[in-house]
C-alpha cells in the first residue's frame, strides 16, 4: 500500500508518545527516569520527522540523524551530571535537588 496514507495515524502515535513523555517528566521524581522520558519525547519527534520525510524527501531522515547525535551527546553529559549530583547528595530524587532555590 501507499504508506503515505499512514501520515495521520503516525502523527497521532507520535503525539501520544510525546504526551506520555511529558507526563513522565512532570510526575516522576527519579532524575534518570525523567531523563529517559526526555528521550521518549525525542523519539516521538523523530517519528514525526520520518513521517514527513515521505512527503518532503530525505532531509527529514537527516534531521533524525542529527537529533540522535544530539540525544547521544545529551545523554552522555546529562548522565555525567546525574553522577556528579549523586556523589554530592547520595540521591537522584529531584525533590532533594533544590540548589536553585531563590
Amino acid at each position: 500500500m501507499d504508506t503515505r496514507l499512514l501520515l495521520g495515524p503516525t502523527l497521532v502515535v507520535s503525539a501520544i508518545l510525546f504526551v506520555l513523555g511529558v507526563a513522565g517528566v512532570l510526575v516522576r521524581r527519579n532524575a534518570i527516569v525523567v531523563f529517559m522520558c526526555v528521550e521518549l519525547m525525542l523519539n516521538a519527534v523523530n517519528l514525526t520527522f520520518i513521517a514527513f520525510a515521505q512527503l518532503h524527501g530525505v532531509s527529514g531522515q537527516i534531521m533524525v540523524f542529527f537529533v540522535m547525535t544530539v540525544a547521544a551527546a545529551e545523554a552522555a553529559v546529562g548522565l555525567a551530571i546525574i553522577l556528579a549530583i549523586f556523589r554530592h547528595t547520595q540521591s537522584v530524587d529531584l525533590a532533594h535537588i533544590n540548589l536553585l532555590k531563590g
Binding site: L26, L94, A95, L99
Partner: protein, 656 residues
C-alpha cells in the same frame, strides 16, 4: 590702563585663593596672610588710582571692557562678561579699594590673636572681589554675580565666629533678608529683558528711554522690584532688620561690609539704573519716602541702644535712608556724595569702636570679668586711656552729626536741600525733608550720647580692669588717622558754591545720569535767602543734638547692665526696636516654620515622598520580588511544570 581694570579684581581674587589655601594648610602663618591680604589691596588700589587718572584725562566718559562672551545664547540674549569703566564705577573703585585697604590694615591688628586669621582674610579678599564685580559690571547679570557674592561673603563673615549659635543665626537672617531682595532684582531683570531685550546698563538706559513712556507701568514695576532688592541689600524698611544683627561679625567686617561698601550697593544700583527710576516718578517718590522714613525710625531706635555697635548699626541704617532720600529726589550725585563721605566717617566710627572694644576686651579679660565689652554702660572715661581713639572718633562724630566743615555736613545738607527743593513739586517731599531734619537732630544726639558714655565720666568696668586699658597698636590707629583726614577733607570733593567750591563730584557724575536727568524736570532753585535759612537750621539741629546728647548723658547716672532698671514708656519701645523683630517673627517666621514643618516636611516630605513615594516604591519592588522569589523554589519539577504550561499555551495558538 582702563583695559586692564580687571587687574583690580584679579589681585584680591589671588589674595582670596592664597589665603584660603593658607587657611587650610598653614593657618598659623599670620605674617604671610597679612602680607598677602593687605598687599593685594594695595595693588588693587594702585590699579584703581591709575584707572581713575586715565579716565580723568580721557575725552570718553565710559569704557566697556569685554573679558569674554559669557552667555551667547541667541541674538536676543547675548551677555558678555564685561566691565563698565565710567565716572561712577571709577569713584566707587577708589572708595572700595581705598577704604577696604585701610580696613584690611586695621584687621591685621584687630584679628591678630584670632585662630581663624587666614580664613578671615580669605573671606575679606573675596568680598572685595565681588564688590568690585558689582560696581564694575556692565550689565545686570554681571553685577548680579557681585550682588550675590557680597551677600555670600557677608553671610560668611557675620557668622565668622560660628561656634556661637547667635552669630550663625544672625548670618542666616542676613542671608534670608537679602534673598527676598535678590528675588526682586531677578524679577526686575526678567521684566527688563522681556520688555527691552537687553540687560546692559547702557542698553537699558537707551532702550528704556525709547520704548517706555514716562509714568507707564513697566518702568514702575521694574523700578519697584529693583528697589525691593535695594531695601534688602541696603537695609531699608521693611528689610532693614538684618543689619543690626549683622554686628555679630568682627568689627572691621561691620566697618567694611555693613557700613562702608556692601550696604551702599543699593544706592549704587539706583544710580546705575537711574534712567528706569526717572521714567517712573511714583517709584522715585517711594524711594524718597522709604529713605526718609528709614532715616527717621532707625535714628529713633539708635537713641536708646547700649551696645556701641548697635548704635552705629542703626546709625548706618539711618544714613542709608539719607542716601535713598537723596537719589529719590533725583539728587543722584548727592546720594553718591553721602555714600562716599559716609564710607569715610562710618568706617572711622566702626574702627574706633573696634579699638574701644579691643581695649575693653583685653582689660576685662585680664580682670577675669565677664562683662560685655561692647556695652557702653561698662565703659566711661576712656579718653584718658585712649586719647587717639577719642580724638579720631570725636572728629567722626562731628562729621556724622553734620557740623561744618566736616564731610558729613555738606553731603547731608545737599540731600536735605534737594528734598526741600522738590517740595515745591509735590508736598510729600516737604514731609521727607522734615523727617530728614528730625533724623539729623537725633543723629547728633545719639552720637554725642555714644561719645559721652564711652569717653567721658567715670570708668564703670571695675577697678581691676581699669589699669589694663591701653591704646591700640599703630597698625590699628594708623588707618584711623588716614580715615580721619578723609573725614575732615572729604567734603572738598563736592564743595558747593556757597562755600567757595565747584561741586566737582556733581560735574564728574553728570555724564552717568545725563540720560536719566533728561526725563525729569531739573531740581528747582531754592532762593538764596531760603538756602541760608536751611543751612542754619541744619547747623542748629546738629549743635542742639550734640549739646543735648552730651548734657543729658553726663547729667544722668549711668548704671552697669546688671543693675539697670526696667526701661519705661517710650524708652522701652525704642529699646526694643519697636518690637519689629517680634512682629516679623509672629507674622512671617512662625507661619513659615509651621508651613515648612507641618505641611512641607511632615506631610509632603516625610509622608508623601518618603513613605508613599520612596518607601512605597521600595515596598512594591519588595512585594514583586517576594512573588518572584516564590517562583524560584528550586524544585525542578515546578520549573518543568511551568515550562509545560507555557509550551501548551504556545502550542494552542499554533495547532489548528
Amino acid at each position: 590702563m582702563i583695559q586692564l581694570v580687571w587687574l583690580a579684581v584679579l589681585f584680591p581674587l589671588l589674595g582670596a585663593v592664597i589665603n584660603a589655601a593658607l587657611a587650610f594648610r598653614r593657618p598659623m602663618a599670620k605674617t604671610a596672610v597679612s602680607i598677602v591680604g593687605v598687599g593685594v589691596m594695595a595693588a588693587a588700589f594702585a590699579v584703581a588710582l591709575a584707572v581713575f587718572r586715565e579716565l580723568q584725562q580721557s575725552p570718553v566718559a565710559s569704557y566697556s571692557v569685554v573679558l569674554w562672551h559669557w552667555m551667547p545664547v541667541t541674538d536676543r540674549l547675548s551677555i558678555d562678561l564685561a566691565f563698565q569703566v565710567d565716572h561712577l564705577s571709577s569713584v566707587m573703585l577708589l572708595v572700595i579699594t581705598g577704604v577696604g585697604g585701610l580696613i584690611h590694615l586695621f584687621s591685621v591688628g584687630y584679628m591678630r590673636s584670632d585662630p581663624g586669621y587666614a580664613r578671615y582674610f580669605a573671606y575679606l579678599n573675596l568680598f572685595i572681589v565681588f564688590m568690585l564685580v558689582l560696581v564694575l559690571g556692565a550689565s545686570l547679570p554681571v553685577s548680579f554675580i557681585g550682588w550675590e557674592g557680597v551677600g555670600l561673603c557677608s553671610y560668611l563673615l557675620i557668622g565668622f565666629w560660628y561656634e556661637v549659635d547667635a552669630n550663625s543665626n544672625a548670618g542666616k537672617k542676613a542671608f534670608l533678608a537679602n534673598r527676598i531682595g535678590d528675588f526682586g532684582v531677578l524679577i526686575a531683570m526678567f521684566l527688563i529683558w522681556w520688555s527691552l531685550g537687553t540687560l546692559d546698563f547702557t542698553g537699558i538706559m537707551m532702550q528704556g528711554g525709547a520704548h517706555w513712556s514716562r509714568g507707564s507701568t513697566m518702568p514702575l514695576l521694574v523700578a519697584l522690584f529693583l528697589f525691593l532688592g535695594c531695601t534688602g541689600k541696603s537695609a531699608q524698611i521693611p528689610l532693614y532688620v538684618w543689619l543690626p544683627d549683622a554686628m555679630a561679625g568682627p568689627t572691621p567686617v561691620s566697618a567694611l561690609i555693613h557700613a562702608a561698601t556692601m550696604v551702599t550697593a543699593g544706592v549704587f544700583l539706583v544710580v546705575r539704573t537711574a534712567a528706569v527710576f526717572t521714567l517712573a516718578p511714583v517709584a522715585l517718590e517711594v524711594v524718597a519716602v522709604v529713605g526718609a522714613l528709614t532715616a527717621f525710625f532707625a535714628a529713633t531706635i539708635g537713641l536708646r541702644q547700649y551696645d556701641i555697635k548697635k548704635v552705629l548699626a542703626y546709625s548706618t541704617v539711618s544714613q542709608l535712608g539719607y542716601m535713598f532720600l537723596g537719589v529719590g529726589t533725583t539728587a543722584f550725585a548727592s546720594g553718591i556724595f553721602h555714600l562716599i563721605t559716609h564710607a569715610f566717617f562710618k568706617a572711622l566710627l566702626f574702627l574706633g569702636a573696634g579699638s574701644v572694644i579691643h581695649a575693653m576686651h583685653h582689660a576685662l579679660h585680664h580682670a577675669h570679668s565677664h562683662a560685655d565689652p561692647q556695652d557702653m554702660r561698662n565703659m566711661g572715661g576712656l579718653r584718658r586711656a585712649m586719647p587717639w581713639t577719642f580724638a579720631l572718633m570725636g572728629i567722626a562724630t562731628l562729621a556724622i552729626a553734620g557740623v561744618p566743615p566736616f564731610a558729613g555736613f555738606f553731603s547731608k545738607d545737599e540731600i536735605l536741600g534737594a528734598a526741600f527743593a522738590r517740595g515745591s513739586e509735590h508736598p510729600i517731599y516737604y514731609v521727607c525733608w522734615a523727617l530728614g531734619l528730625a533724623a539729623a537732630l537725633m543723629t547728633a544726639f545719639y552720637m554725642s550720647r555714644l561719645v559721652a558714655m564711652t569717653f567721658f565720666g567715670k570708668y564703670r568696668g571695675g577697678e581691676k580692669s581699669a589699669e589694663h586699658l591701653h591704646e591700640a597698636p599703630w597698625v590699628m590707629t594708623g588707618p584711623l588717622v588716614i580715615l580721619a583726614i578723609l573725614t575732615i577733607g572729604g567734603g572738598l570733593i563736592n564743595l558747593p558754591h556757597f562755600a567757595g567750591g565747584s561741586s566737582w563730584l556733581e560735574h564728574w557724575l553728570a555724564p552717568v545720569v545725563q540720560v536719566a536727568m533728561m526725563m525729569v524736570t531739573p531740581t528747582p532753585e531754592i532762593p538764596s535767602g531760603m538756602e541760608t535759612t536751611l543751612i542754619a537750621l541744619a547747623i542748629v539741629a546738629a549743635v542742639t543734638g550734640l549739646v543735648g546728647g552730651y548734657v543729658l548723658t553726663t547729667r544722668s547716672s549711668i548704671v552697669t547692665p546688671e543693675h539697670a532698671p526696667e526701661e519705661r514708656g517710650i524708652w522701652s519701645l525704642l529699646y526694643h526696636k519697636y518690637y519689629v523683630d517680634e512682629v516679623y517673627h509672629r507674622l512671617i517666621v512662625d507661619p513659615t516654620m509651621w508651613l515648612s514643618r507641618r505641611a512641607l516636611w511632615q506631610t509632603v516630605d516625610a509622608f508623601l515622598i518618603d513613605r508613599i513615594g520612596v518607601g512605597g516604591t521600595a515596598r512594591l519592588a519588595e512585594g514583586l520580588g517576594w512573588l518572584g522569589s516564590r517562583l524560584q523554589n528550586g524544585q525542578v519539577a515546578f520549573y518543568v511544570t511551568m515550562f509545560a504550561v507555557g509550551a501548551v499555551l504556545i502550542l494552542r495558538t499554533l495547532v489548528r
